[in-house]
């Protein structure tokens, strides 16, 4: 793909459709804490705000390329074609869930759709994605790996060790550092050396002598352009790249950590709840990637208002169906807990 390619109308509409599907899914998960209290256990992490970054990145993907994000993992399999019914059922801990109720929100896996699995321990999955890159290289199957992780994860040793090894071995991995600006509750400017110096986080790439780039993660086409270069480099056997995709997590880190039987739901965003900075949240809400891209496509006459509404209605219906399926799915039998201890 050349940098200045003109994307076809179908691809642009595909990008918008996937963004809307992610947003609708995440909002349904968030609402479920209110509408179905107690149905979702533990900790759920949403990707609203990341849609442009996720879909822009995956718009460069070939059909067998592998995708390995962190525990904030709902958005990616939606794009890969994992049935929303199975995803929602998993988040509800049901028998028909993607992982039969063994994993939950943080541990979605769909290897048949090139989504090998996700870790809940921050940063550790960067090493696993790098290992998937090793498989791609050894098997010479022409695959590359998209490794997604947050700004917080880039402070873990696993990040530095993995990128060093990937660079030494020239592994076909595109590292997408999703700078959503908060590591759980901590603003990235409080814990990142590059940020403290007023520099982009992609400066970390220089430590490994690999290309690094920072891109507007609220613009799927800007993300696509940057990732295309990194993906081409990986496909050509030239090794990994690091892309800082900068956007804003629109929901809090996760639902409130409560002890049963206290109910839990999503709290206010950390910007407000921790830092008292409502202006920051409002500023980024105004840059919400989903309506922003919608306006652009309508402005460019790629979409009409009616067509956009059709896409949104279809996504809403798909998510509603997934929710009904999840709620109707039975719980696993207790004794199933001892399955899958060993392969």
């Amino acid at each position: 793909m050349s940098k200045k390619e003109e994307l076809g109308k179908d691809k642009l509409i595909w990008i918008y459709t996937q963004m809307v599907r992610i947003r609708e899914f995440e909002e349904a998960v968030k609402n479920a804490f209110i509408e179905h209290p107690g149905a979702i256990r533990g900790h759920a992490h949403l990707g609203d705000g990341a849609e442009a970054s996720i879909v822009g990145t995956l718009s460069t993907r070939n059909p067998t390329d592998m995708v390995m994000p962190s525990y904030r993992c709902h958005g990616y399999p939606i794009v890969l074609g994992t049935p929303l019914r199975k995803m929602m059922a998993e988040i509800f801990g049901r028998k028909d869930g993607l992982c039969k109720g063994y994993g939950g929100s943080m541990h979605l896996a769909d290897p048949a759709n090139h989504f090998p699995g996700t870790s809940g321990i921050i940063g550790q999955s960067i090493a696993h994605a790098t290992g998937a890159g090793l498989t791609a290289q050894v098997k010479k199957a022409g695959q590359i790996v998209y490794c997604f992780f947050g700004d917080g994860a880039s402070k873990q040793g696993a990040f530095f060790e993995s990128l060093n090894m990937a660079a030494v071995w020239k592994l076909p991995v595109v590292y997408v550092l999703e700078n959503n600006q908060y590591q759980a509750y901590t603003h990235y400017s409080l814990e990142d050396a590059n940020a403290v110096a007023g520099d982009p986080l992609s400066n970390k790439a220089a430590a490994f002598s690999i290309p690094g780039m920072t891109v507007d993660g609220t613009d799927p086409l800007a993300v696509r352009e940057a990732v295309s270069v990194a993906a081409e480099r990986a496909r050509a056997g030239q090794g990994p790249s690091l892309i800082e995709s900068k956007f804003y997590r629109l929901s809090a880190h996760g639902n409130v950590i409560t002890v049963p039987p206290l109910p839990t739901q999503f709290p206010e965003h950390e910007a407000v709840a921790v830092y008292g900075n409502r202006a920051e949240l409002e500023e980024w809400k105004a840059k919400d990637p989903v309506p922003k891209f919608r306006s652009r496509l309508i402005g460019d006459a790629v979409l009409t208002e009616g067509k956009a509404k059709d896409i949104e209605d279809a996504a809403r219906a798909e998510v509603k169906d997934a929710m009904q399926f999840a709620l109707a799915s039975p719980m696993p039998a207790p004794e199933e807990a001892i399955n899958y201890v060993y392969a």
Binding site: P116, G117, S162
Partner: protein, 326 residues
Amino acid sequence: MAREMMYGDAIAAAIIEEMQRDPNVIFYGQNMGMTERDPMLKKFGRERVRLAPISETAEIGIGIGAAMTGLRPIVELWMSEFMLVAFDQVINEAPRFHYMSGGQVKVPVVLKAGFGFCAGWAGQHSNCIYHTMMGIPGLKVVVPSTPADAKGLMTSSIRDNNPVVYLHHYMLTLDKGQVPEGEYAIPLGVADVKRLGSDVTIVATAWMVKKSLAAAERLAQEGISAEVVDPRTLAPLDVKTIVESVKKTGRLVLVDQAPRHSSAATVIAGEVAEHGFEYLRAPIKMVTAIDSSVPYSEPMENFILPNEDKIVQAVKSVLAQQTVAA
């Protein structure tokens, strides 16, 4: 056909044979394949034999990711303690994916490391850390005591679809024994009775098997018949074979190089107390390392470790006792 081989060479033989058999098996670690003269590199090439930087978290994590996606990596970690800087990957990543994915994902990675190097390596390089790992469901832990077992268990570890921590004992590296040639696999989770006996059961692993067999030989000269059972894998643990031996002998001595509360012996004692109490004619006796770090200086190192004398003494003490009515 069998031929005499050293324990260390038997491990290498299994790795070479499995790499010849299965192109998905790869082998990497620190200080490996540094020059083109490296024999493994010559045999299998840079794609499958790799030098890794000193980055245990990434080495193990990459092995996990590669295993999740279709390879069978063997990660050479050299010393078991080096895993401690990457213990999340060992304990809380590798054994979780098969389960958390509802059986969709397999993680056939072998983490190979030496342990128990009691030759003046002092506090940080001589330890036995298997206790923590043997209690993690989904993780297998292998501790061979002979050259033949070293080969057969490595073959099975590579073929296993689960993450396997393969711990070879440094003090056994040069020990010689008959090793079957060609394909040789010993199933994981099956104990081996290394010496038949009738008066007492001694359960020991790795280097302690050697010491227990020497103690049993000395006891035989005094007319005491000791059975020596080697679990060979600590996870899964073959409790059945151990309990059957106790059923026969009525007495149990557990020999373990680890300090008491981080030993496999504590786990085995608990299992026998629950499943074999009715057969015990005397309390279980544990011969473990003394609860201290491993000292550098030789007399102190010897002092804290189990040895033949301590094993003989423990056997005699359980034979002297008869607290349970027969």
